[in-house]
């Protein structure tokens, strides 16, 4: 294992971790407001295909990104309407969203399978900082989307813990009855953050089809949406921990690809299993007797003021 390989694996860990990070940050928003959205996989897929289609049409990856954000947000809006508006079961609705997203993205993306992206997010090295040994290429040798995700993490943390809207949103997720009694609109709050979560999942999808791959393949998320859901639990609903977690998952992914490239095909299947097994282990470790530390008190529960 030489230095160059280590640098390239770490760099790849950041790249592979970024789509998961976007999606996990989005899911943190939704879950902090009390809405469990298991449709991340579907939202990412629809984000990825929309981003790719818009880019193919317009030639601009930025417009593509915008398209992905809108598409992810619209997908989440379905979930919000069902679970917040109509108080449907959040687990089943999330599964429906994933299924629907898988079908929809397959349908929409059929004409562009294998088409190369006309334009993608390319690596933009940060001047000066990119020349730092090791840290330079690993942290500062990426595209704009990665830099955006860097900024998003502390911004979200600040929003959650240091601002009034963040306080209100956490209150809605912890104890909607208390928030309601203090005049916070529980329904709207949940709508807004569920949709915001979808927008971020869309960004994660766009990263896959416009920077990571960059192309469209059916089911190209390959379970990353589900990893993001697990990562939120792993991170204890904290954006800062989610950052570290994403790169850890990205690292496992990157390592698998490297070994696949070097060695034979056979063990690559086992390496591909690693992120999934790792997710399970993380879940087991962070569960500890049922009381997941930091889980929003009302996560997954519909709120009904006059209900009984």
């Amino acid at each position: 294992m030489d230095w160059v390989l280590a640098v390239s694996i770490c760099q790849a860990a950041v790249t592979a971790g970024t789509p998961i990070l976007f999606a996990a940050l989005g899911e943190i928003l939704a879950e902090r407001a009390g809405v469990l959205n298991l449709g991340v996989e579907g939202m990412m897929l629809v984000g990825a295909v929309s981003g790719f289609l818009v880019t193919v049409r317009t030639g601009s990856p930025w417009l593509g990104l915008l398209g992905a954000l809108v598409a992810g947000g619209l997908m989440a809006l379905i979930h919000a309407a069902l679970c917040v508006g109509l108080r449907a079961n959040q687990v089943v609705s999330g599964l429906a969203l994933t299924l629907f997203g898988t079908g929809l993205s397959g349908y929409l993306g059929k004409p562009v399978i294998g088409v190369p992206a006309p334009s993608t997010f390319r690596t933009v090295e940060v001047p000066v900082l990119a020349d730092i040994p090791f840290l330079g290429p690993v942290v500062f040798g990426h595209d704009y989307l990665v830099y955006i995700s860097y900024l998003l993490v502390p911004a979200l943390w600040f929003f959650l813990y240091r601002t009034r809207p963040g306080l209100h949103m956490r209150a809605v997720g912890e104890n909607p009855a208390a928030a309601d009694a203090m005049g916070i609109n529980v329904g709207w709050t949940r709508y807004i953050y569920t949709v915001a979560g979808g927008v971020l999942a869309g960004a994660g999808g766009a990263y896959l089809s416009l920077a990571y791959a960059p192309t469209w393949l059916e089911n190209m998320t390959a379970g990353r949406g589900w990893i993001a859901v697990a990562l939120v639990i792993f991170a204890g609903w904290n954006p800062l921990v989610a950052l570290a977690g994403s790169y850890l998952f990205g690292g496992v992914d990157a390592l698998g690809l490297r070994i696949q490239a070097v060695g034979t095909v056979v063990p690559s299947f086992f390496l591909s299993m690693l992120p999934y097994i790792f997710t399970i282990l993380v879940l087991l470790v962070s569960t500890r007797g049922g009381r997941r530390l930091g889980a929003p008190g009302a996560l997954g529960l519909a709120y009904d003021r006059e209900g009984h």
């Binding site: 601002t163 009034r164 809207p165 956490r170 209150a171 208390a178 309601d180 009694a181 203090m182 916070i184």
Partner: protein, 513 residues
């Protein structure tokens, strides 16, 4: 003392599916008064105040604040109009600090939180009104009394002129309640109005200036305290004279059927909830456990019935050591629990009356044969049970959630009693029931005792405990701190012990039978 009318409710009606909770109720509240809203459980007191605080919308009637009609679409509107409510179940976000809870829902400052400023203001308000609490403490670290102060502070911080308190003393010791009354009187003296919801005559007579009595969703009367008496209020509240006294038919036996020694157990929060508790109940005896809720009542019931692990100490039912036994084994030993949570623990809401009736006996013949259930036998047994205990059910195949509270409890007791338990643990057996249903439940418990069962009665209603028990023990912070025969018990002494104050003279002798 009687100031201007701050709030007026006229002809308020509110209907819930199947129930008319408020039927053209009117109420006026003046500045500078403590106005009690008196009524039985289910009389519609809380519904009326939830409408005034913007939580519910009325189906009819109007609300006037200082003479101007208002429409509250949410609690926020009510708070803006100066009306704040402290709910019986606190609306506090547990992992948040006091200051965070106080500032929740406000819209200034708009974005960044300036918690230091809020903390200062909370401390200042607390000092001024005698509501001391650490603004940086997280809610779950506070005692129930302190949490209530936070709720009041929340409203004062918003400049509430009308403060609604929903059954505020249910969770307090008599001494804490007295402190609260002082605070409320001070606030009234400063020109605010306090609406005080209660079903306890004594405290209403103690703290209120005027009293409005609700019965079955309608207002019966509004009276000046000076012009009425507890007896008149009682008559107005229930619609007939009530006297509560029960006669013993025979002496308690000598056989100890339930015996706890040095029991320790964890609470849900990971702290020790029972700290070396010892207790005995004899055959044919009711032992009442008095105490402010949250001092280990739930844990005590759960430990005895095997739903919570025992850390240390031993539990015996009759001569059988049952410490750490599975609930199924305890049921087989003749132990019966009437749980606090009737619908959800004691009964399964969506299952039928028949299915619920066999919850404890489905394992054994004749209800089952081998792995199969015998449906005919189950129906027959359930029909007998329902008839014998006069449970009103829409049908044997109706889900039990359609039953009223009183009938739920009758069905639950019918099932438990028909198993002829040797030991019964009853937790808040009459909470939420009306007078008639309460009397029925009491009669069933007394019959059980006369049959020779040992009954542990856990209740937060001191009157109920004094009326039914042969002996009273006081639970405080997971320990029995006092014990006395019910005939010699005084409310005053029990009240002091409930607050954890050791009595100077030897009143109980350390909690051993």
């Amino acid at each position: 003392m009687a100031g201007d009318i701050l709030v007026e409710m006229r002809g308020i009606s509110k209907r819930f599916p199947g129930v008319l909770a408020n039927d053209r109720v009117s109420l006026s509240v003046r500045a500078g008064e403590v106005h009690a809203l008196l009524g039985e459980n289910g009389a519609g007191k809380t519904t009326l105040m939830s409408i005034l605080s913007g939580l519910y919308r009325p189906d009819g009637g109007e609300i006037l604040v200082e003479g101007r009609p208002v429409v509250f679409r949410s609690p926020r509107d009510a708070i803006r109009a100066g009306i704040g409510m402290v709910h019986q179940h606190f609306r506090l976000v547990e992992p948040f600090t006091v200051a965070e809870n106080v500032t929740l829902g406000l819209d200034r400052p708009r974005f960044a939180l300036h918690l230091a400023a809020v903390e200062q203001e909370v401390a200042r308000l607390g000092d001024r009104h005698g509501l001391k609490v650490d603004p940086r403490a997280q809610i779950w670290q506070l005692s129930v009394g302190e949490q209530q102060r936070v709720e009041i502070l929340k409203m004062l911080y918003r400049g509430a002129r009308v403060l609604i308190m929903d059954e505020p003393t249910a969770v307090l010791t008599p001494q804490e309640a007295r402190d609260l009354f002082t605070v409320l009187r001070q606030m009234a003296a400063a020109g605010r109005a306090v609406v005080f919801i209660s079903h306890k005559l004594q405290e209403v007579m103690e703290v209120a200036d005027r009293i409005t009595v609700l019965r079955a969703g309608r207002n019966v009367a509004t009276l000046e305290k000076a012009a009425t008496s507890a007896r008149e209020l009682a008559r107005l509240m229930v619609g007939r004279e009530v006297s509560v006294s029960y006669q013993r038919t025979r002496q308690a036996g000598q056989e100890v059927l339930l015996c706890l020694e040095g029991v320790e157990a964890m609470g849900d929060r990971g702290f020790l909830a029972l700290r070396g508790l010892s207790l005995r109940v004899h055959a044919g005896e009711i032992v009442g456990v008095a105490g402010v809720s949250g001092n280990g009542q739930r844990e005590l019931a759960e430990v005895i019935s095997g739903l919570r692990p025992t850390l240390r100490g031993s539990i015996r039912v009759g001569d059988t050591e049952v410490t750490g036994c599975h609930p199924a084994r305890l049921i087989a030993c003749g132990l019966s629990l009437v749980p606090e949570d009737r619908l959800g623990t004691g009964l399964v809401p969506t299952l039928t009356v028949c299915d619920n009736a066999i919850l404890k006996c489905y394992r054994h013949p004749p209800v089952s044969r081998g792995p199969f259930l015998r449906r005919g036998e189950i129906r027959r047994r359930t029909r007998v049970l329902v008839e014998e205990f006069a449970v009103k059910v829409p049908g044997l195949d109706a889900p039990v959630r359609k039953l009223s509270g009183g009938n739920l409890q009758r069905l639950l007791l019918a099932r438990e009693i028909s198993a002829r338990p040797r030991v019964m643990v009853a937790v808040h057996p009459t909470r939420g029931l009306d007078v008639g249903a309460t009397a029925g439940v009491h009669r069933l418990l007394l019959e059980q005792r006369d049959e020779g069962a040992a009954i542990l009665l856990i209740s937060e209603d001191l009157d109920e405990i004094l009326a039914l028990s042969d002996r009273v023990v006081v639970l405080y912070e997971g320990r029995i701190v006092g014990e006395m025969p019910a005939a010699q018990a005084s409310r005053e002494e029990i009240g002091l012990m409930m607050a954890g104050i050791e009595l100077p003279k030897d009143a109980g002798g350390g909690g051993q039978a």
